[in-house]
């Protein structure tokens, strides 16, 4: 484990990504302690630029503190991004692994189900799902997981199809290992690089998708996210750039830091790179 950490942090990009992500996570978690008021309370004149007295990031169209909004927005955006990606990854890896490892009828069946999800325009499906379930944090997470897993399942299936023919898998069968053990202990570790890569992209796209939902007023009305901040400020975009640019920048930095961490994770997990 200590070795793993050393390998992970030996890459500057991964270390930087981790540091930035940890900072964002800290601000998100500590938001109620850091700020005396909630994200919805009005603290001053609308559209004050960043650096105005007491307003590090300025104020928005309603005169709310942008800094507090960004901190609370991080809570929602990160929660949605990470939880929905985890759900999508678990579903996608399980179905993809089973389809790819067993092949044949099982594969046909599972892939037809996957295709069913893929042929429906995913954002339309998401909108229908969320409005059907009433917009809330839970329905947003569920909806994003539902449109995310087919991509993961496809990739994992492909990896398993390629790997199951390898001789070490045959050797494991001959040694009498159970299918479960072969799938999770023999094959899955070799399929990790694309899973980690897609997973880290997915966190980013989930945050963006949540933003898009909020933009369409389909987000949770009781919580502020980076997306809903952009959505709510769009009318002021030309007169007060910080109202949209700052939440946008937050998304960008978060997604970038997660991608860097994903690269570092793959590097640290690969035994070929270990001695260096």
């Amino acid at each position: 484990m200590r070795n793993f950490a050393r390998r992970f942090f030996s890459r500057p990009a991964a270390a930087a990504g981790f540091a930035v992500f940890a900072l964002i996570l800290f601000i998100a978690l500590a938001a109620p302690l850091l700020f005396g008021h909630g994200p919805f309370s009005i603290v001053g004149v609308p559209l004050l630029p960043p650096g105005s007295p007491g307003l590090l990031a300025g104020s928005d169209v309603l005169g709310r503190d942008m800094m507090v909004g960004l901190a609370y927005g991080a809570r929602v955006s990160l929660l949605v991004g990470i939880v929905s990606t985890l759900c999508a990854t678990i579903i996608g890896v399980l179905l993809g692994a089973v389809a790819g490892y067993y092949g044949g009828v099982v594969d046909d069946l599972l892939m037809r189900v996957t295709e069913f999800f893929q042929i429906i325009p995913s954002f339309v499906l998401l909108m229908v799902l969320v409005s059907f379930l009433q917009p809330s944090l839970g329905s947003t997470i569920l909806g994003i997981a539902m449109i995310g897993w087919p991509q993961m399942a496809r990739v994992v299936r492909g990896e398993f199809l390629a790997l199951r023919g390898r001789e070490f898998v045959q050797a494991a069968r001959i040694l009498g290992e159970s299918d479960l053990h072969i799938i999770f202990r023999q094959v899955l570790p070799n399929a990790l690089p694309p899973i980690v890569a897609i997973g880290s992209m997915m966190v980013g796209s989930a945050i963006l998708t949540e933003s898009a939902l909020s933009f369409l007023d389909l987000g949770d009305p009781n919580s502020l996210s980076w997306g809903s901040m952009i959505s709510g400020s769009r009318s002021a975009m030309w007169v007060a750039w910080w109202t949209t640019v700052l939440p946008g920048l937050s998304i960008l930095i978060t997604v970038l830091s997660i991608n860097f961490m994903g690269d570092g994770l793959n590097h640290a997990l690969n035994p070929r790179r270990r001695e260096r």
Binding site: E167, I174, L175, G176, E177, P271, R274, E275
Partner: protein
């Protein structure tokens, strides 16, 4: 001997910093005259392929020639500008490679690929080029009309290699570079291609640089031989001299390591067989929901027996069904017909659950030393996998694994390392240790040495034989190489297209084969005449 077509002198190729040695090729001098076939022989990592790539101006990035010269005609190939070199390549220097499938474009008919090659260097029309291509393919012994329209996947490996040779020769090069051109081919096809190359070389009087690891092939084709090791030429000279009276100890060891028909394993007295296979059949059918391809019979009523302490060789070319047979016996595949009696009980149709207790008694060693070990597991995890799957005591298993690694000739400290840190031969030893950990009764070895260098091959064969003796194992030894089979098997069985063509005691099958196919296989063994096989 005429003037040299190509003269390499003092060629030095540097490796990027951090590689295992500073120079991949270190001061190589080599000449090949017009009308001469010069073989560069060596094991993997000897620098033989890099030397050839330097001549073609195709060194991989990060690797460059730092010294010496390659004179071709009036030019020094190392000093030519890339675009001049490109015009030379293909026109004056032809090339053929090991894997014709990878060198041909899979979605373009063969005819277009040949004419493209011709028209890239000469200003002629498509019709004219096509006529030329047909003529060339005809000279290669191909049925030009059909092959021109065919896609690469519709041709056999030998036909594809003939197409590659036709393309290489299309512009009448003065030098042909052949990098292991027959290594991926079956032995009978290999013999044909070697004969073809010799004939064409004699007709055209060009110079050939032939890269190979196989001294048998050298014996069949070479006028001159250069033996390479660690980037240097350790010995060179006329073929007869190098092969007949090698002066360098390394050359001697390489020639000695070529398996001879030296059968020291007479058949055992017949006892009760451990495994009896009766009329085993397996048919493959591919296709989707609406269309089915024609079924292919991979195994057609194959029968065999093997007893404890006995090695049965199963010999055949690709597509003979020998690997399918192994996988049906070990139940990686389910046979369609027939029975596999293991200690008297039929296991051909056992359900996975019922099969599990038997698994430990039948084990297998695989062909590919790279794909047979999980790259993400340590050697310790790999070797103890079998006992762990059976729920055996961890501490005891680890102790036994260390002992087993020592038995196969590895340091037990290897347990903590990963497969990629080991050489091909060492990996095969790890694979063997993994199989032996379960104390099997029968070991199936599927081409266990075909991916290894000859000297390593000899060591692994010896280890397999020692282990068989020590543990009184029954062994099914699957190979495409008659020479290897002759060395280790008590009895052999020759397969072709899913059927058994011939079987019997090794010495008898090799000395007086009864089927034409076996005779053909034996005749095709490279270097048979010159290296003194068949005694």
């Amino acid at each position: 001997m005429s003037a040299s077509a190509i003269a390499i002198s003092g060629l030095t190729i540097a490796l990027p910093p951090g590689a295992d040695r500073a120079h991949a090729v270190d001061g190589v001098d080599l000449e090949s005259g017009a009308g001469e076939i010069t073989c560069i022989v060596g094991e993997s990592g000897s620098g033989k392929s890099l030397t050839a790539h330097a001549v073609m101006g195709l060194l991989p990035s990060g690797v460059r020639a730092t010294g010496g010269s390659i004179r071709f005609g009036d030019a020094d190939l190392l000093k030519l500008a890339p675009d001049v070199m490109r015009r030379l390549r293909g026109r004056d220097i032809g090339m053929i490679f090991q894997d014709p499938m990878a060198a041909l474009n899979p979605v373009m008919p063969v005819g277009r690929q040949v004419t493209e090659q011709i028209r890239a260097h000469r200003a002629i029309g498509e019709a004219e080029a096509l006529a030329e291509a047909a003529k060339l393919l005809g000279q290669m012994g191909l049925e030009a009309g059909r092959v021109l329209r065919a896609y690469p996947f519709q041709l056999s490996g030998g036909q594809r290699q003939r197409v590659m040779i036709a393309m290489a020769l299309a512009l009448g090069p003065r030098l042909l570079i052949a990098d292991e051109p027959t290594t991926a081919l079956d032995v009978t096809t290999q013999a044909q291609i070697i004969r073809l190359l010799k004939d064409i070389q004699a007709q055209r009087g060009m110079s050939v640089l032939f890269i190979t690891h196989d001294f048998g092939v050298v014996a069949d084709i070479a006028d001159k031989v250069a033996v390479m090791r660690h980037g240097r030429i350790v010995e060179s000279g006329p073929a007869a001299q190098v092969l007949g009276h090698p002066s360098d100890p390394y050359t001697k060891s390489l020639i000695d390591a070529v398996p001879r028909f030296r059968n020291e394993t007479p058949p055992l007295a017949s006892g009760t067989p451990l495994v009896t296979v009766n009329n085993l059949g397996k048919t493959f059918q591919r296709g989707g929901l609406f269309s089915r391809d024609k079924p292919v019979a991979a195994l057609d009523s194959v029968s065999l027996t093997v007893g404890r302490g006995e090695t049965l060789g199963i010999v055949g070319e690709s597509g003979s069904g020998k690997s399918t047979l192994a996988r049906c016996i070990i139940r990686l595949l389910d046979p369609d017909a027939g029975e596999v009696l293991f200690d008297g009980a039929d296991i051909a149709r056992l359900k996975p659950r019922a099969l599990k207790p038997l698994r430990r008694r039948i084990q297998m060693v695989f062909q590919d030393p790279f794909s047979s070990l999980n790259p993400r597991h340590t050697v310790g995890e790999i070797v103890t996998a079998g006992p762990r799957a059976l729920g055996e005591d961890a501490a005891q298993t680890t102790a036994r694994a260390a002992e087993m690694l020592r038995l196969v000739g590895l340091d037990p400290a290897a347990m903590r390392r990963y497969p990629h840190e080991f050489s091909g031969g060492q990996r095969q030893r790890i694979g063997l240790a993994r199989a032996l950990m379960l104390k099997p009764d029968i070991l199936i070895a599927d081409e266990p040495v075909s991916a290894l260098d000859v000297t390593v091959q000899a060591q692994v064969l010896k280890l397999l034989d020692d282990v068989r003796r020590q543990m009184n194992l029954a062994m099914l030894f699957i190979t495409h190489d008659m020479r290897v089979a002759a060395q280790v098997c008590h009895r052999v069985m020759v397969m072709r297209r899913g059927r058994v063509v011939e079987s019997g005691a090794t010495a008898q099958v090799f000395a007086s084969p009864s089927s034409d196919y076996t005779k053909e296989l034996l005749a095709a063994i490279p270097g048979r005449a010159r290296l003194g096989f068949g005694n």
